[in-house]
């Protein structure tokens, strides 16, 4: 691949980072409002919690490896699955995706920073505090069980289990408050991203010329407003119930347990689209570059993304098929859920068509995206199975559902994230990650992923419900649970490779230059790492791939758009 210095006017005189007293560096990071530093802090924070969440999962898998095990008590197990789910969604998923968005969106639209830099910093620190608050519950508070008073009501905290009478002490309050604060941080960052995209694009970057990553972050952030707010409202209601004696979810006073479920899932379903849209964003950028072809069907990709955003607001009660909503409601939600598979399928076909006829280069970012494509396909298909309400009456609340959503969260989102790490690490640090370590990471992780999550579907089909700390022998679940546990070992080893690669490459990695992948979007036109001000001169663009136009003046994209 050729690398081209496309802009000669970049100012390379950066303040040397070596030789500054460590305390100054720390102080600078604590006070920063620069989107790149904030983005990196989000990512680092999320990686720490990824490890912690993984440890929680490992402890659970050990407990479940054999029937009637006594590795942890039921109380501790119930805290583990609550904390694992809450951590992974709110303190890994959201921060890491906002971190990438923070870093990349201004660069990709040719801006110098986000629209509201101080709000950006505030949002990060509120979210960070929220995570620490949640984990303080393990050691603090006045709880009744071992392991402090960490919440044990499940990450969706169904009422009335969360009422004061069924969950005394403060464990539930840690959950409520931590997520409430995290929600404030999320809304703040989403607000920032939307405003940045609408108001700070460089000259002539019309909406129809934005990179698809930017489009997807626009849809994702808009979804955050409409999705996270219901959860915030529900948590205020729950806290009023617990402390002021109100009756929102108090079934003894005529309140409704189902109302909590509606409010939670009105948040919960769009939330999973909030998590997956950025994964699509990364794949949208990486696959074309490593197939050496423009993305196939850009307008359809935009329409499908926006469509997915809208439809995702109407499917929430497919999490409630077993609640007894009645045939009419069940039928409506079946329909809406099935409909969302159409734009999702369009995206998969467009990726396939992008690869078709290209020159596919299997470097680490691409192989993770390839794994994403297969795994997301499977995840979507098990989703279609679950959308068939009668089938969901068997599969719902079983390990089949756990397998399905981990297939999306780990097999699609985390896999795409790994690809994004390998792709943008050179831009962020100026050094390439090790390809061989990358391949070790890939194979170890993928083998582990499939051992765990392919075979996890089977106990679900054999009647194993979720959130049980142990199970009876003789149900046919034992062997499968052991295989699931073995996969964890491989995933852990793969993740260790990855973390080592991150650190080792920072010190010893090959120098990357501006544009190691011969890519086409604006972030590759500035230095690696970019200067504080991103671009010496704010660019003007004429097409969706400004760098392609410069590298191929005989055949620019602007002729075809």
């Amino acid at each position: 691949m050729s690398t081209t210095h496309v802009v000669d006017k970049i100012d390379e005189t950066l303040t040397p980072q070596q030789g500054r007293p460590p305390l100054n560096v720390v102080y600078e990071w604590l006070r920063t409002v620069d989107h790149k530093k904030i983005g990196l802090m989000y990512i680092a924070y999320a990686l720490v919690f990824l490890i912690i969440g993984g440890v929680e999962a490992t402890l659970m898998r050990i407990q479940l490896a054999i029937p009637n095990n006594h590795f942890v008590s039921p109380q501790v197990f119930n805290q583990l699955f609550t904390m694992h789910g809450t951590t992974m969604v709110f303190f890994v998923g959201m921060p890491i995706l906002f971190g990438f968005g923070n870093y990349l969106v201004p660069l990709m639209i040719g801006a110098r920073d986000m629209a509201f830099p101080r709000l950006n910093a505030f949002s990060f620190w509120v979210s960070a505090f929220a995570g620490l608050l949640l984990y303080f519950s393990y050691v603090g508070g006045s709880g009744l069980y071992a392991a402090g008073s960490a919440p044990d009501v499940g990450w969706f905290a169904y009422a009335p289990l969360t009422a004061k009478v069924f969950s005394p002490g403060h464990s539930t309050d840690y959950w409520t408050l931590a997520i409430f604060l995290s929600g404030i941080g999320s809304i703040g960052t989403a607000l920032n991203i939307v405003t940045t995209i609408i108001c700070m694009r460089c000259k002539d970057m019309k909406l129809s010329r934005m990179p698809l990553l930017v489009w997807l972050y626009l849809v994702m952030s808009s979804l955050v407003f409409v999705a996270v707010s219901p959860l915030t409202a529900a948590q205020v209601m729950l806290t009023l119930d617990r402390y002021l004696g109100s009756h929102f979810f108090d079934t003894q006073a005529g309140g409704s347990a189902v109302l909590w479920m509606h409010f939670f899932w009105i948040f919960g379903h769009p939330e999973v689209y909030v998590l997956v849209l950025p994964a699509f964003a990364f794949v949208n950028e990486i696959v074309p570059v490593f197939s050496r072809k423009a993305i196939f069907g850009y307008p359809a990709m935009v329409a499908a993304s926006v469509g997915i955003g809208f439809i995702s607001l109407s499917v929430w009660a497919h999490h409630m098929f077993t609640v007894g909503m009645g045939a009419a409601a069940n039928t409506f939600f079946v329909f809406a859920t099935m409909v969302i598979s159409v734009p999702t399928g369009i995206k998969i076909f467009n990726w396939l068509a992008t690869i078709w006829g290209g020159h596919v280069i299997f470097r680490t970012p691409m192989i993770f995206c390839v794994a994403f494509l297969f795994q997301f396909l499977v995840a979507g298909l098990t989703g279609i199975m679950l959308s068939v309400a009668p089938f969901d009456w068997q599969l719902g609340n079983s390990y089949f559902v756990v397998a399905h959503f981990h297939y999306v969260l780990v097999g699609a989102i985390l896999t795409a994230l790994f690809g994004a790490f390998y792709y943008w690490y050179p831009k962020i640090t100026g050094r390439m990650m090790s390809e061989s370590l990358g391949k070790w990471h890939f194979w170890l992780f993928i083998i582990g992923f499939h051992l765990t999550f392919d075979f996890m579907h089977v106990p679900g089909l054999l009647g194993m419900p979720r959130r049980i700390y142990t199970y009876e022998a003789g149900r046919g679940w034992e062997g499968w649970n052991i295989i699931v546990g073995i996969g964890v070992v491989f995933q852990a080893l793969g993740t260790l490779c990855f973390v080592y690669n991150l650190v080792h490459s920072y010190v010893k990695g090959k120098e990357a230059g501006h544009d190691p992948w011969d890519a086409w979007t604006l972030e590759w036109s500035t230095s690696s790492p970019p200067p504080d001000y991103n671009f010496a001169v704010l660019p003007t663009v004429n097409s969706r791939r400004p760098l392609w136009d410069l590298k191929h003046p005989e055949d620019p994209d602007s002729d075809y758009e």
Binding site: L191, R201, G245, G254
Partner: protein
């Protein structure tokens, strides 16, 4: 703002590249998020209408808060005039309209306080009493909290304005705050309709 050099191939259009003001877009986003929160509380209110097991019903204890509503909705007009006069450079008029807005907002809050005092003391309706109490106080209370926050911001602005620090070039920023205030009033229209008109 930016020099158009470097990356452009021949740019055929010379039309100015203008994007919306970020304050307006940011506030619009905040309004969308806050609206979603209010929608949930309104849904809870409507869902629980008629479902209380005991206690006073809306028809028994609620009276139309006409005076407070008129004050609050008028304050939308005054804040709009504050922005309009500021844009034209009529700084003293702007300050006067701002002061009216704060005053009218305060009157609204006082009417709400008096209403709640009456409900708690005379009718025995609290947030614990029944489903109506729960949903009524939380919805109206959430709105009142937003009014308080708006009044704090407006008062700060009024303070700056009295010291002559708010001028024509700040009109976009003032308009952003005015937008928030309009939102608060729009929410009240919904709350008023749902709680005091349809719900009784």
């Amino acid at each position: 703002m930016s020099d158009t050099v470097g990356i452009s191939i021949a740019s055929t259009r010379e039309a100015p590249w203008t994007l919306p003001y970020r304050g307006t877009v940011g506030m619009a986003c905040l309004i969308v998020a806050e609206s979603a929160i209010f929608v949930i509380f309104v849904v809870a209110y409507i869902f629980y209408l008629g479902k209380s097991l005991t206690g006073p019903t809306p028809a028994q204890v609620l009276e139309l808060p006409i005076f407070g509503t008129v004050c609050l909705l008028s304050s939308s007009i005054t804040v709009h005039l504050a922005v309009a006069t500021l844009r034209k450079g009529m700084l003293r008029a702007s300050t006067g309209w701002l002061a009216s807005t704060v005053f009218l907002g305060l009157i609204f809050l006082i009417t709400t306080v008096r209403e709640w005092y009456h409900l708690i003391d005379d009718e025995g309706l609290t947030i614990q009493t029944n489903l109506f109490g729960t949903t009524y106080y939380s919805l109206v209370g959430l709105h009142a909290t937003h009014v308080v926050f708006g009044l704090i911001m407006l008062s700060l602005l009024l303070g700056f304005s009295l010291f002559g620090l708010v001028r024509e070039e700040h009109s976009e920023k003032v308009e952003t705050l005015a937008l928030y205030w309009h939102f608060v009033d729009a929410v009240w229209v919904v709350v008023f309709t749902v709680v005091y008109v349809l719900g009784r």
